[in-house]
């Protein structure tokens, strides 16, 4: 048996939750072009300056929608997130007039391939 890493893209739709005066999504982001990419624990390539999901609160809207920790956010509502600063990313996710955000995320997955099925 051997392990294969591959990444696949997924579209996730999060409905924001209203808490008092704020709309929250229920996760934390890290990364950005103004940040230090070598300290990102989730990225495979340590020069990757994209936006990553660093925490997902339990029971929050993000978890419900299927967002997982370690996902890299590629797009938010059609806006590209691969070359933005940390603050710009935060702003794009927390626009007050949007209740739904549609994310395009990339996730690394670990699959175990069964050798016998390949060989037989």
């Amino acid at each position: 048996c051997y392990f294969i890493f591959f990444s696949f893209q997924q579209r996730i739709e999060i409905h924001k939750l209203r808490q008092g005066d704020n709309l929250i999504l229920g996760f934390s982001i890290g990364g950005g072009i103004d940040q230090d990419p070598t300290q990102n624990p989730f990225s495979e390539d340590k020069t990757d300056k994209g936006i990553y999901v660093t925490r997902v609160t339990e029971g929050g809207p993000a978890e419900v929608a299927g967002l997982q920790i370690g996902d890299k956010i590629m797009q938010v509502n059609g806006w590209d997130m691969t070359m933005v600063t940390h603050d710009q990313a935060r702003k794009r996710l927390t626009k007050r007039n949007e209740e739904v955000v549609r994310l395009l995320v990339t996730r690394q997955s670990l699959q175990k391939a069964v050798q016998q099925s390949m060989m037989s």
Binding site: I24, L25, S28, I29, Q35, N40, T54, L93
Partner: protein, 525 residues
């Protein structure tokens, strides 16, 4: 001008293996001991090279009487053996010196050399004066009158000769400090150069001026001035060749003592092997800790135990296969399971603990002893005249309280034969006089110091032999190895060239030092 020529070619034992003649014995030249007992000088530190070229330059009375009074006048004049005068090549020197040695005793050779050097020096110095005076004496009436110009030239000759005298005195009049095996090549060359030079000047003078009785006195005086100028330039050449050239460091030598592996590094310039050996020895006495044979007994006994207990029996017959036997012994010794490394480890750990304990006791004892002494100020000295002691008595008073601890410590570190009670008392009174703390007093006993610190009879290293594969007058090269042997141990000297350094330049604008923060923020949305 007489150059520095020191060619004391009596040296210690065999100087190199290249098959040249062996000098029979060496001569010690220690100025401080009484000179010339025939073999009395053997026991002194005798690798002293007669460095100086102290030859009498002027024939005036002052220097003569000085030499006469000086008991060691022979040592302050340059020694030229017959070899350097006649030839320069190595074989010739060897051959001639062998002949000389066979025919004349060593003392005579030294005196011969000194006499020749003295005569040459005198000759060289008097030559300009002779050039000027001879026409006046011989054909005074025919000479053209030569007023102020000649007088000016006389003054310049006088001052230049004075400068030459002072320069030679400053540079070359030195006490001999070593006996070296072979002649100094540069000095020999310089002396020969001077001799040829003066000889040719005399030749020219004799043929052109004396024979023809030249009447142009100004020309003659100018000729003498040119001789003095040239002598000054030769003096400059001597400075450059003999002194300046060896100042810039070109080689690093590593000196390792054969008995315990203690090593040091020194920087040397362009020197001949024998002079490098001198420098190494001068530094040996102040840098290396004193050679202590008592410290070596432990490793010797271990070595003896390794091969002991193995016997070889030849079962196959009376053949004597020596190399096979020794190889078999080595293999058997290697395979034998011995725990000598264990012994060594525990023995050393034990010894260290013991030394530290004794040291602690010693330090405490000495500190306590020193508290019993107080220095009296001047006013107090008048008040209590009865109890006052001078340093020696004070030392004797406090010595008994620390004597036992000190002796035990010296025994443990095996230094006891280097310090007698008298020397300890002397050192103690010295320290008391100079207001030293107990720690300063103990500095001498806690660790073994350089050889110079101890009494001469405990040195174990006074006569040295230079063993070298290259000729000892050849210069240092990269990779040369030579050995300085004395009776109990030897110093192995390894010469390495200082590497060629490529240094380049880089300019950094002070305004170009800029920094950014490395951020790692996490925001919850």
């Amino acid at each position: 001008m007489s150059a520095a020529m020191d060619t004391e070619s009596t040296y210690s034992g065999y100087s190199h293996y290249s098959g040249h003649s062996k000098k029979a014995h060496r001569q010690g030249r220690d100025r401080h001991k009484s000179p010339r007992s025939k073999d009395g000088s053997r026991s002194e530190k005798s690798v002293t090279i007669q460095t100086p070229p102290a030859e009498p330059l002027l024939g005036n009375d002052a220097s003569r009487t000085e030499e006469g009074q000086d008991d060691n006048w022979g040592e302050t004049t340059t020694a030229i053996t017959g070899t350097s005068e006649h030839s320069i090549s190595q074989e010739d020197i060897a051959r001639i010196s062998k002949d000389l040695e066979d025919s004349v005793g060593l003392e005579c050779k030294r005196y011969l050399g000194l006499t020749v050097a003295a005569v040459l020096g005198l000759l060289v110095f008097l030559t300009p004066i002779a050039f000027i005076l001879l026409p006046q004496i011989l054909w005074r009436d025919d000479l053209e009158p030569c007023g102020t110009v000649c007088e000016g030239l006389f003054i310049s000759v006088a001052f230049k000769l004075l400068i030459l005298l002072i320069g030679t005195w400053a540079l070359f009049f030195r006490q001999p400090k070593a006996d070296i095996p072979r002649v100094f090549v540069f000095r020999a060359l310089l002396l020969v150069l001077i001799f040829l030079f003066v000889f040719s000047y005399w030749l020219f003078y004799g043929v052109r001026i004396l024979d023809l009785k030249d009447t142009n006195y100004q020309g003659i005086v100018q000729y003498a001035v040119s001789l003095v100028d040239a002598l000054l330039f030769i003096h400059y050449l001597a400075i450059v060749l003999l002194e300046l050239r060896q100042l810039q460091p070109m080689f690093t030598v590593k000196v390792v003592r054969s008995t315990d592996g203690e090593s040091r590094y020194y920087s040397l310039g362009h020197l001949s092997i024998q002079r490098a050996a001198l420098v190494v020895l001068e530094n040996y006495y102040k840098d290396f800790t004193v050679y202590n044979p008592a410290l070596l007994t432990a490793s010797k006994s271990r070595a003896a135990k390794h091969m002991a207990g193995l016997k070889v029996y030849n079962v196959d017959g009376p053949g004597n296969n020596a190399s096979g036997q020794s190889r078999a012994m080595i293999a058997a010794a290697a395979r034998r399971r011995d725990s000598s490394h264990n012994e060594l480890y525990y023995e050393e750990a034990d010894h260290e603990r013991r030394v530290k304990k004794r040291r602690a006791r010693l330090v405490v004892a000495v500190e306590e002893a020193f508290t019993h002494i107080k220095r009296l100020q001047a006013e107090e000295q008048q008040k209590a005249p009865g109890e006052m002691m001078d340093p020696r008595e004070a030392a004797q008073a406090i010595f008994p309280s620390m004597a036992r601890a000190l002796q035990k410590y010296l025994r443990t570190t095996r230094q006891q034969q280097y310090h007698s009670m008298e020397s300890i008392l002397q050192h103690l009174s010295f320290c008391i006089t100079n207001n030293m703390t107990p720690k300063a007093f103990l500095e001498r006993y806690l660790n073994p110091g350089p050889t110079l610190q101890y009494d001469r009879d405990r040195w174990f290293s006074k006569q040295w032999t230079l063993v070298s594969e290259e000729a000892v007058t050849s210069g240092l090269q990269d990779g040369i190895v030579f050995v300085l042997k004395c009776l109990d141990f030897s110093l192995v000297v390894n010469v390495k060239k200082i590497p060629f350094i490529k240094l380049s330049e880089e300019f950094i604008d002070p305004k170009s030092h800029k920094f950014v923060l490395r951020l790692q923020s996490e925001t919850s949305v």
